[in-house]
């Protein structure tokens, strides 16, 4: 319950900004911020006034590499950084621009495939980029993904490959991509079928700790059946 009484409201907002509230109470405030102008003003009041206490924390230099990681995270995903995987896929799927650029890369790939080989191919690219960055081929013998543009994960991070099958509730990890930019799977994952989408996210070294993408999705591509 967010109180109406101004004094109570201000005290609660102050506790929220200090961070002493428990998780449920903090979430209740966050949920109310958009609609409750008085609460929002009270929170801003405390954010601005208590900021005056921040000189009590002595400044210190962040370790090297922090900026590089920030730059990688925002550059890899200018428009959709950190947006949910599904959103970026919807965005991507609704784009018709992908077809032409993909076709050239696919044609080359299909041409060099062994005849008994892959049934599916995908070209992965960064959102709103035309340049293909990865190509995946998949079939009875498994899956092969490799970098075509020499993409490298940020320092201390790794790329992880995901498959999203149509109608599946969540992405399925296909594994962390080795630093040489080449990932091979000996069997065909069940999540690979017509209409599936492949996605690559930036994760901690060793892969997502949660089994779901935790970092930004930086490349996506739809699997298409190859004849």
């Amino acid at each position: 319950m967010i109180p109406d009484d101004p004094q109570e409201l201000n005290a609660l907002a102050g506790e929220y900004v200090l961070g002493v509230l428990d998780g449920d109470a903090a979430r209740e405030i966050e949920a109310a911020l958009d609609k409750n102008d008085a609460l929002r003003r009270a929170v801003i009041f405390w954010e601005e006034r208590l900021h005056g206490l921040s000189p009590l924390a002595p400044p210190a230099s962040p370790p090297p590499g922090v900026w590089d990681n920030i730059a990688a995270r925002i550059a890899s995903k200018k428009a959709t950084a950190l947006s949910p995987l599904w959103n970026s896929l919807v965005l991507w799927r609704s784009s018709t621009a992908l077809a032409a650029a993909a076709a050239a890369a696919l044609a080359l790939y299909i041409a060099v495939m062994p005849p008994s080989g892959p049934r599916f191919v995908a070209v992965l690219r960064a959102p709103q980029q035309d340049q293909p960055a990865w190509v995946a081929t998949a079939g009875g013998q498994g899956l092969l993904l490799h970098a075509v543009a020499g993409e490298a994960a940020p320092r201390d991070r790794a790329f992880e490959l995901w498959a999203i099958a149509p109608g599946a509730p969540s992405p399925k990890s296909l594994g962390v991509i080795p630093a040489n930019g080449r990932l091979e799977l000996g069997t065909l994952p069940a999540a690979i079928r017509a209409g599936s989408t492949l996605a690559i996210s930036i994760e901690p070294k060793g892969g997502s700790p949660t089994g779901q993408p935790t970092g930004p999705v930086v490349f996506t591509g739809a699997l298409v059946a190859a004849r």
Binding site: G14, G19, E30, F45, L56, A57, P62, I70
Partner: protein, 222 residues
């Protein structure tokens, strides 16, 4: 990732002063049309945090980098004080700057203090992380000696804080209220953690924080 409030509506009085300052510096292009112009200027010439955030709103990654150069030591210090471990503090700063990049558009010019906005983003991120990872594990590091630092911080208020309303009003609180508020803000402690640190009964701590905030508010904005 959950992003805490950092709401962006009015704080008109405080805003006035810093906007005037920005106008004097000559970098501020005036409303939205100026933002694009800002991006074309050498970013190094943008000095105020507010100018830089406005350039970031316009999509300038160079401005974000400059903001990082200017503010990262301060923000890392804040996160480190809460999280205690440099690698966690680095992650908090990283996440915070990515949020700044994404949420720059939600920074409204009515907000008084651009640096306070950054402080809030970093603190909320660090608080989320500490609540998730659990402080018990973190406070084991003997080199940090955090118990010994507690009274120290509060005693140094007069040395560290700029002269002004906040320092004066904190001075008017009773010792327990002041200590609780400062510990909560700087160290990111919960009620229970403050109670353990002081030590004092939980109920007393809750009431000190609350009464301290009420007194602080009426002193700061009578």
């Amino acid at each position: 990732m959950k992003i805490r409030s950092i709401s962006s509506s009015a704080a008109p009085i405080a805003a006035r002063a810093s906007m005037d300052k920005a106008a004097e510096s000559g970098h501020r292009g005036g409303a939205k049309g100026g933002v694009a112009g800002l991006m074309d200027k050498p970013t190094a010439s943008l000095s105020s945090v507010r100018d830089l955030i406005e350039a970031v709103q316009g999509g300038s990654q160079a401005a974000l980098k400059r903001l990082y150069e200017i503010e990262s030591r301060r923000l890392f210090g804040i996160a480190l004080r809460i999280l205690r471990r440099p690698e966690l503090a680095a992650e908090a700063v990283q996440d915070a700057f990515v949020q700044v990049w994404q949420r720059a558009a939600s920074f409204s010019p009515e907000r008084g203090d651009a640096a306070a906005w950054l402080t809030a983003i970093v603190r909320y991120r660090a608080l989320d992380m500490i609540r998730k990872s659990g402080r018990e594990i973190l406070s084991d590091d003997p080199t940090l000696g955090d118990v010994a630092e507690a009274p120290d911080i509060v005693e140094r208020l007069d040395l560290k804080l700029a002269q002004g309303a906040l320092r004066r009003c904190l001075g008017e609180l009773d010792d327990n209220q002041r200590r609780c508020i400062v510990l909560a803000f700087v160290e990111g402690l919960t009620h229970a953690e403050i109670a353990e640190r002081l030590p004092a009964p939980l109920g007393s701590v809750k009431s000190w924080v609350r009464r301290g905030l009420i007194a602080l508010r009426s002193c700061l904005e009578p």
